[in-house]
């Protein structure tokens, strides 16, 4: 299955090379002590998220595509048009039609919200366009205010509106929702992905939140220490992280040396060969039935069972996040659904880890968390119901 996904993404890259629509780049950029390297093709209307920890070089990639930092090697092409490379003169910034939203938004401090949003527009068309964007992003109140009077979230959305007002041929967004509260984050994310699809422009989104990447992007590129570790559909990255490092980035909270109580079963029923470590996510673990009142049918799905002691329970929303310490001292998080009754702290509990991701001694994936039959994946999507916005 891993192979199938990989050929998928290389197929979409090949397509972009042929019909030339979208963004293609293959860049190496010097950044302090490391060199950031990345190859990717983003189709028209597609949104790809770059995910990684702070300092991975995510923003550097965007700056390189926009033309703000010189390339050490490689080149950037947009819609079949050459943009820049290390060995021939780059296209001037003003002719690139690259829309870049930086982390600090970079608003013009001497202009009000409306003038900032309409900056890239010719005078006549500006007014109506600015009004539309302001309405879509809930910015009507700050059209007359200067950036210094706006909150961080408002500045971020004004910057987003400014980028999209200028009709860019590619959209580069660096943590565009970091200052927004969860509801606005969802709404704005849905709006962005809608705009990208409607305008049929490629979009690159930098984030450190996989859930956000999934809501907006169709593929995820995982970047760490300047190297691109994996490019795949978000659910594939979540289920089949290429390495332990990627797994940690996409929400696997703990890694446990395999200690089999029951044999570890793969989706096809065989024991995964070569696995020495399993990655565990809180939402893939349940307490074994004898410790909880409401079972989750855990017996029917393949997985490993672990034994440990309940260390702590902390409420998280309406659910409860518990932590279990195993015999070897490692800690496993458990997310308990609301309505489940709880064991006492300090009690011995059995954990059932559903379809854990399994890694070999060098940290490479042996077996993904194939909890969901991969055949179901194409069913995901949005129905063509004629109905307003598609806020997730």
């Amino acid at each position: 299955m891993l192979l199938r996904r990989r050929s998928d993404s290389s197929r979409s890259r090949a397509r972009a090379t042929h019909d030339q629509a979208g963004l293609r780049f293959d860049v190496a950029v010097d950044r302090r002590t490391v060199v950031v390297q990345m190859v990717l093709a983003v189709g028209a209307g597609e949104c790809v998220a770059i995910v990684g920890p702070s300092g991975a070089g995510k923003s550097t990639v965007l700056a390189a595509i926009a033309g703000l930092v010189p390339l050490r090697s490689g080149s950037v092409w947009l819609d079949g048009r050459f943009l820049s490379s290390s060995d021939r003169p780059a296209v001037p910034l003003r002719e690139r039609r690259v829309g870049l939203l930086t982390q600090r938004a970079g608003l013009f401090p001497h202009l009000d919200g409306a003038s900032n949003i309409g900056y890239g527009l010719p005078g006549g068309a500006a007014h109506a366009r600015v009004g539309e964007l302001a309405q879509a992003l809930g910015l009507e109140d700050v059209l007359g205010a200067r950036p210094a009077r706006m909150s961080a979230g408002q500045r971020q959305r004004v910057g987003l509106a400014r980028v999209l007002a200028a009709d860019p041929r590619v959209v580069l967004l660096d943590e565009p929702f970091s200052a927004l509260d969860p509801e606005l984050r969802r709404k704005t994310g849905a709006w962005v992905s809608g705009e990208v699809r409607r305008r049929q422009v490629p979009c690159l989104l930098v984030t450190h939140d996989l859930a956000e990447a999934q809501r907006v992007a169709s593929r995820v590129a995982v970047l760490e220490g300047g190297a691109c570790l994996q490019v795949a559909e978000p659910e594939v990255v979540a289920r089949e992280p290429a390495t332990q490092a990627v797994a940690r980035l996409v929400g696997y909270d703990a890694f446990v040396g395999v200690e089999l109580v029951r044999p570890l079963l793969s989706a096809s029923g065989a024991i995964a060969p070569g696995a020495t470590t399993v990655g565990v996510r809180g939402d893939l673990v349940s307490l074994a039935p004898e410790n909880v009142s409401v079972g989750r049918g855990s017996q029917t799905s393949p997985g490993v069972e672990l034994v440990g002691r309940l260390r702590s329970m902390v409420a998280s929303g309406a659910a409860v996040e518990a932590s279990v310490v195993l015999d070897d001292g490692s800690e496993v998080p458990v997310r308990l659904a609301p309505g489940q009754s709880l064991p006492r702290i300090g009690a011995e509990v059995r954990l059932h880890v559903h379809n854990p991701a399994c890694f070999d001694a060098s940290g490479r994936l042996v077996q993904g968390a194939g909890g969901k039959p991969s055949a179901a994946a194409p069913a995901l999507g949005r129905a063509p119901v004629p109905h307003g916005a598609t806020a997730g």
Binding site: A66, L68, P92, L93, R94, R96, R97, V98, G99, L100, T102, R104, G106, F108, P109, H110, Y119, G120, R146, A148, R149, R162, A166
Partner: protein, 267 residues
């Protein structure tokens, strides 16, 4: 305590520095004012000074602004060299500048010969006055403008370019408005140097009389009191404009700046 002492001290220093201005109004007799200003051609030095300063400033803005911009945006190899050169000119006493101008553009120099072919002479002419004022004022304008441009984040210019602006358009819409307070202050300083230019003027442009020269001549020929009306003239006619420009840009600076914050550890 510290707060009150500080404010009183600041007021005292400020009053001491402005004391001479008070002396002007205290010692100016209305009759002397009437006599001086009703003399034939009494206003012509003022007109000469304003005209020469305006021309000098026009030239400075036209050639000094691009130089200052180039100096701050790393367009020139060895940025330190350019800045140091301007600093050396800044540190030259005006009298020395005048002296060196004689050897640089005076009638006997190669440049002087060239100027003569254009029917210009840099010695005791209006042209010489303008040249002297340009050289006295230039480093103030260029270094001030460079500081103003430094305060504009290059990131904002890059954003303007990415949004489709040409260099010139982004300069007009982003760089210039953001640098305006600093540029206005540089311009005010340059205007002050040009209007008050005396050292260099004394050496290469004794004629036609600008206001400083008129004051100097009156001082020598008639005495201190007779020169006071010209000082007042200067204050009334030449000062309001730059002061207004400065106050206006100060307001703009406040409007675009961050919210004021409060908090005093010394109260």
């Amino acid at each position: 305590m510290l707060g009150v002492v500080g404010v009183l001290g600041a007021v005292a220093v400020w009053l001491a520095l402005l004391g001479p201005l008070g002396a002007l109004f205290a010692h100016l007799s209305p009759s002397a004012l009437r006599t001086s200003l009703s003399a034939p051609h009494a206003l012509s030095p003022l007109v000469t000074s304003v005209e020469a300063s305006a021309v000098a400033l026009g030239v400075l803005v036209a050639v000094g602004t691009p130089l200052a911009w180039a100096m701050t945006r790393n367009r020139l190899p060895g940025p330190r060299v350019w800045e140091s050169g301007m600093l050396v000119m800044l540190l030259m006493p005006p009298l020395v500048i005048g002296l060196l101008l004689v050897f640089f553009v005076g009638p006997l120099t190669p440049i002087g010969h060239g100027l003569a072919r254009l029917h210009l002479s840099a010695s005791n002419t209006f042209f010489a006055l303008v040249v002297a004022e340009i050289y006295e004022a230039a480093p103030y304008y260029v270094l001030g403008a460079a500081a103003a441009f430094t305060s504009v984040e290059p990131e904002l210019e890059e954003h303007a370019w990415l949004l489709g602006d040409t260099w010139w358009r982004s300069f007009r819409r982003v760089t210039l408005p953001l640098a305006a307070p600093g540029l206005a202050s540089a311009l005010a300083m340059a205007w002050a140097r040009a209007m008050g230019a005396f050292g260099a003027v004394l050496v290469i442009a004794y004629h036609p009389y600008g206001l400083p020269m008129q004051i100097w001549v009156t001082l020598q020929q008639t005495g201190l009191a007779a020169a006071l009306p010209f000082a007042l003239l200067l204050l009334v006619v030449a000062l309001p404009l730059p002061v207004l420009a400065y106050v206006w840009t100060a307001r703009a600076r406040i409007a675009s700046g961050p919210d004021a914050s409060v908090g005093d550890p010394a109260l």
